[in-house]
């Protein structure tokens, strides 16, 4: 298997995918600390993507994940490092920590949604 590029359409195949297409750094390979590239939004606040690729379990061949649970709702405050969701790849459950402290601005992959390795799961908005 190769650390192939993550699919570049953000959440294209999942319901509720983010519709403003956003450039993402391809942090698809395991072990890189991806997921902290910030994107300027017009609100002046930074939008930090929650990058599934950075969280992908190391020893799996599967490139498709299933979002099991969101533990916080859109619009809630989140604290960097705290668990906000979990997904499953090849029978392994993966915890999703908040990449930054702020507000969960948008959930891009809903519960029970399938997504590809490297897809953005959500965006956290930090205070500008």
């Amino acid at each position: 298997m190769s650390g192939s590029d993550p699919a570049s359409d953000s959440g294209g195949e999942t319901e509720g995918g983010g519709d403003d297409s956003i450039e993402r750094a391809g942090g698809g390979s395991n072990g890189t600390d991806g997921g902290t590239d910030t994107i300027e939004t017009d609100g002046g606040a930074d939008r930090v993507p929650v990058d599934s690729g950075a969280l992908w379990p190391g020893d799996t061949d599967d490139d498709v994940g299933l979002l099991l649970n969101w533990f916080v709702a859109e619009g809630s405050r989140v604290t960097e490092g705290n668990r906000i969701a979990e997904f499953q790849v090849e029978k392994v459950d993966v915890d999703v920590p908040a990449p930054a402290t702020g507000t969960l601005a948008e959930i891009a992959v809903d519960e029970d949604g399938e997504f590809d390795r490297g897809d953005v799961l959500a965006y956290v908005e930090t205070e500008g």
Binding site: D59, L66, V89, E90, K91, V92, D112
Partner: protein
């Protein structure tokens, strides 16, 4: 023997594929054509064939929750067993049992999904053989985790006291689900359990099919000749998770690798080549096994599912009233109506 081992391996691999149908990307244990738990025995084939090769249809085998390799080695009807695993009406148990509860009276094969539970019934089969003066034997299969159960230890004592024609085959795959043997069991050699009950214990330290064949032959012959019970522990390897759905995150990479590298089937093939059996012949055996597996799975999938109301059948053998619907009338024997004045 080689053919049975190859059949069992191919069977487990095929079931794994069939089981995963409808269970991706989110693994949902209750989805797909084969729902529920599935415990596969890839890597443990030698323990099944090495002993069962010495058995006849009238000998009894009780298997635990990981039974397919033993069932194949014992000669259980592969088609009907597969139909049972697919939950079909024509399965061995009409869809009531599933993969942990396979029963085939034609070859005296039974299972239980609760570990060590097959030991006492094996005693009973051995007892029946002894009382009837037949030379049938009974074999109880269990895993190394199950030797810590009271049911196993009680059975050893009783087998020894009554000198029963029974063999306890302990398949030591080093893991009780996630618990390595050294954390939960003493001594390391499970066959030593026999010493405390004044009976024979043997351990085969590798899953070499020929070595198990030797040891299994000796244990079965002793039982058949009235020379008493044996605990036979065999080192095997679990090539897959405890159950399909087990991510095995607790298991060291090198342990998984070791299991993958040691292949008793390959070893037996190498031995056969040394004995002058050519590759074409081995290939033919493998093809035959593959065809048999494919045929069983194809047949099973064409079988009908049971009707929902069939759930109410088979709770009892006799009607609820027992063997009679009538109570006899003996004049004067009934209780007189009314109390005594």
């Amino acid at each position: 023997m080689y053919e049975d081992m190859v059949t069992a391996r191919l069977y487990e691999e095929r079931l794994q594929d069939e089981y995963m149908e409808g269970k991706r990307p989110g693994f949902d244990i209750s989805a797909g054509d084969i729902p529920g738990e599935l415990h596969l025995a890839a890597g443990q084939e030698a323990a099944a064939v090495g002993v069962c090769y010495h058995l006849r249809d009238d000998d009894t085998v009780t298997a635990p929750h990981r039974p397919h390799h033993v069932a194949i080695a014992k000669g259980v009807d592969l088609k009907r067993m597969t139909a049972e695993i697919f939950g079909r009406e024509t399965g061995l148990c009409h869809g009531k049992g599933g993969h942990m509860h396979l029963f085939d009276p034609d070859v005296n094969f039974a299972c239980s999904g609760i570990i060590a539970e097959g030991c006492p019934p094996a005693l009973g089969a051995a007892m029946a053989a002894k009382k009837r003066n037949t030379d049938s034997v009974a074999v109880a299969y269990l895993g190394e985790g199950a030797i810590d159960q009271g049911g196993f230890l009680e059975s050893l004592n009783m087998a020894s006291v009554h000198d029963l024609p029974v063999v306890f085959v302990v398949e030591d795959n080093d893991w009780a689900i996630s618990m390595p043997k050294d954390r939960v069991t003493r001594p390391d050699d499970g066959s030593k359990r026999a010493d405390g009950f004044d009976m024979r214990g043997v351990r085969v330290d590798s899953d070499d099919a020929r070595a198990i064949y030797e040891a299994g032959g000796e244990a079965v012959a002793r039982a058949r000749d009235g020379n008493g019970p044996t605990v036979l522990e065999v080192q095997v390897h679990r090539r897959m998770g405890h159950f399909m759905g087990d991510p095995e995150t607790y298991r060291p990479e090198e342990d998984q690798q070791r299991a993958a590298d040691r292949d008793s089937i390959e070893r037996l093939a190498a031995d056969m080549r040394e004995f002058g059996i050519d590759e074409a012949e081995l290939e033919e055996i493998r093809d035959r096994a593959a065809e048999r597996v494919d045929e069983a799975v194809t047949w099973a999938k064409q079988q009908p599912l049971p009707e929902p109301e069939a759930a109410h059948d088979h709770v009892f053998t006799n009607p609820p009233s027992g063997v009679t619907d009538e109570e006899p009338e003996f004049p004067g024997s009934g209780a007189a109506a009314g109390g005594d004045d």
